[in-house]
Assembly symmetry: C2
Homo-oligomer: 303 residues x 2
Amino acid sequence: MSILVVGSVAFDSVQTPFGKVEEVLGGSGTYFSTAASFFADVSLVAVVGEDFPREHLDFLAGRNVNLDGLQIRPGRTFRWKGEYGFDLNEAHTLDTQLNVFERFAPELPEHYRDAEYVFLGNIDPELQLKVLDQVRRPRLVACDTMNFWIEGKREALLKTLERVDMLLINEAEARQLAGEPNLVRAAREILAMGPKTLIVKRGEYGALMFSEHSIFAAPAYPLESVFDPTGAGDAFAGGFLGYLAANRNHDEGCLRQAIVFGSVMASFVVENFSLDRMRELDCAEIEERFRRFKLLTEFAGIG
Amino acid sequence: MSILVVGSVAFDSVQTPFGKVEEVLGGSGTYFSTAASFFADVSLVAVVGEDFPREHLDFLAGRNVNLDGLQIRPGRTFRWKGEYGFDLNEAHTLDTQLNVFERFAPELPEHYRDAEYVFLGNIDPELQLKVLDQVRRPRLVACDTMNFWIEGKREALLKTLERVDMLLINEAEARQLAGEPNLVRAAREILAMGPKTLIVKRGEYGALMFSEHSIFAAPAYPLESVFDPTGAGDAFAGGFLGYLAANRNHDEGCLRQAIVFGSVMASFVVENFSLDRMRELDCAEIEERFRRFKLLTEFAGIG
């Protein structure tokens, strides 16, 4: 099954306590597409500048990511520069250059419009709405957002939320969106805004999935070497939606397994800079880490 | 089976965003004993002043906590005053009055010395060693500590660690003790100091249990009303050791279930000030919440 994703494709410059990279491949759309591509076909809607190298396009195409919706516009590609301290949970943005992303207007090629699974990456909610206007009859729409839009474009964001099935955000964003410090209550208020499912990403503490009658808690995989957390949330979303699309099943059991596959993909991404860990990843490793998540969490009926 | 615990018995004055209490029953020994008493017999070693009211002794005795090792000394009982902001993960200590606790020298009544399960609450590691010198042949010794002792009494603490089976501390303490920011590596270094099992308490994010060949991750129970986190870590330890003592079994499955029972007890304690939630708690509620932990975490084989 095909997943449509709209998001950023960028050059990232990142410094962590463990190293430093300059202008490497990044962006929410890139991380999502690559992670999801291990499970399903992906169609990417994004924009890059004329400086975007052929090799990155070849990499994505090599992962079966359809690039017909990737616009190449005069100017420079979006650039982000950030650093992390020993507390790898929070990125400190040093510089953002929107460049061609500033005038991005997502346009879906005709054959994208029948997409059954849609992921609206963290972009202006007005653009997210424009994407939703162009898709015909999606089975499932998920979206991401951030503090900048929650504060600055609340009305448009609330319109988006009325039209999505799932929202994936981090803890602070959930509290901010609901205006409520208690996460369980915040989740209830967010579910009343439209999404049937809320997934709260908690970095090294894992994720919580809230729906009307159930809460699911998944840990993050305890890693000895976390090199660079950039893209972990987008890879999580890619693994999550990829697994759902591959199974075309959204029951509670499948949603929970999808959360774990999302956590698996996030756990790989942080093991190296950029998407480098995913470049050498294979399905056997993904299955093996899923199995390790089971060993990590089960407590009933063992001994 | 009987558990021996040494720890503090105190009057707490606590302010949270949800209310305020003055001089209520508190202390690590009190929280531990009460939580453990739902699973096993408990013998408490502690000290209080002459101002300690009969009703608190009656409460503990009513929960089958043996008080033969509770010294009543001239002077005032230990007092702690703290507050929490909306981020309930961290207590801000406003005042500590050690009072009779300052000269506390744990003395075990003869019939305490055959205790099979021992919990060394968060007190001076020199006193923890004195307790270990007085017990004969314990099956299992667990201990807690804190930044103050890690920094100020490192030598004595390392001696204690050589003689305990399990260490229960929070995340920051684990990193500080090992001098290593990565928790998985920190755990390996701490296991090399003596304990066969390390339990890292992460507040609202749950707990991790590390042993030589395995890691177990348990979430905290997502609660709508967290009133007062005071005592959660000690109630966790009480539920954990209580369950182990009741089952006299320390295999991996039993340890994992014990972690969840610890989390269950912690989840109740934070629902009200002081030990008030445990005063009205029954075993059916404990079993029911354990069942809900299963529903919260399972992802394999459901659908």
